[in-house]
Symmetry: C2
Subunit: 190 residues, 2 copies
């Protein structure tokens, strides 16, 4: 059993730190975890990718077999990574930054706008986005994510990051309860 | 051309953060970089491994082909990872925490003791250890490591981390100038 999540955005959106928190949350869940960041020379301002694999056994092959979840923070990050999806995988996008996606199962949340409006800080977009994973990903709980945030984030920012996580979780829960994936096509907004 | 560095220690020694800084320094050098962390359920207190690969072309195969440098912060981390070395690879160890190593090219530096004594803070052992890489690794400079530390570390701790890097660099430079690897056997202390 293996579960793969890829976070993709542009440099500066906090994708790598979000991956680190997700990976460490997986450790708290007692999974085997491999976390990989791939930087091209285009990383400065270009696409930034952070991938987290959970497994109940040691992971021998750290290359993608197929993504269960792609969390895409901008259009380019989304387009580039769709080819690596599992057929039944879920794409979660920032509805303000990603336009229509040629994929069946899409959840669309205005991450960065909500971070700006509700948390008054766009920097925590990454933690808000992590929160939206929780209702859709059986391998990680909000409890272990909170634990990982408390461990990994600079002390002065922990509360803000926890609030962002909670906001994302709330939005995604509301969305999930109203979704039937076999009925929708393309993106759905909260 | 590909260059592989593995950092290995126990949970809490800051191996993952050191890997992150090393990876981002590589980006500043305009390399392609893949950074992988592998956590087993033993990660809590057990061996923690962070691996950084530099290349001048895109990295298709993110699994170790052979380590150019193994930086081992404790005995177990050293023993477990020797089988993955390139024959001509270099092992850098904490001389207080790793005993004799069955390897030809070994550099031995009392990382944690120096961090405690010179920096008055054992937490920066990881950055001091990173500093010791520099004279032996042609793929990364102290300049780009300083840049990565300034970018990634919490603001209040940057100066301390930079000082630790500098101390490691100084120790390793002194050591390198007195070493001839074909003449030594086993560990050599600063």
């Amino acid at each position: 059993m293996r579960y793969e999540i890829r976070l993709a955005g542009i440099g500066g959106q906090g994708v790598i730190l979000a991956g680190l928190v997700l990976a460490e949350a997986g450790v708290f869940e007692r999974h085997y975890v491999v976390h990989t960041q791939n930087y091209g020379p285009e990383a400065r301002g270009g696409t930034s990718i952070s991938e987290v694999m959970f497994s109940d056994a040691e992971i021998d092959y750290p290359k993608t077999l197929g993504l269960d979840i792609l969390l895409a923070l901008n259009q380019d990050a989304c387009a580039k990574n769709l080819p690596d999806m599992k057929p039944e995988g879920l794409v979660i996008i920032d509805s303000d930054l990603v336009e229509k996606v040629p994929w069946g199962k899409v959840v669309s949340v205005p991450f960065s706008r909500r971070a700006r409006e509700k948390l008054k800080n766009q920097k925590v977009t990454n933690m808000l986005a992590l929160g939206t994973l929780v209702p859709f990903c059986p391998w990680v709980s909000s409890r272990s994510l909170r634990k990982a945030i408390s461990k990994r984030m600079p002390p002065g920012t922990i509360q803000l990051n926890l609030s962002a996580l909670q906001e994302g979780l709330k939005l995604a829960r509301r969305l999930k309860s109203s979704l039937k994936f076999d009925e929708i096509e393309g993106a759905t907004e909260v």
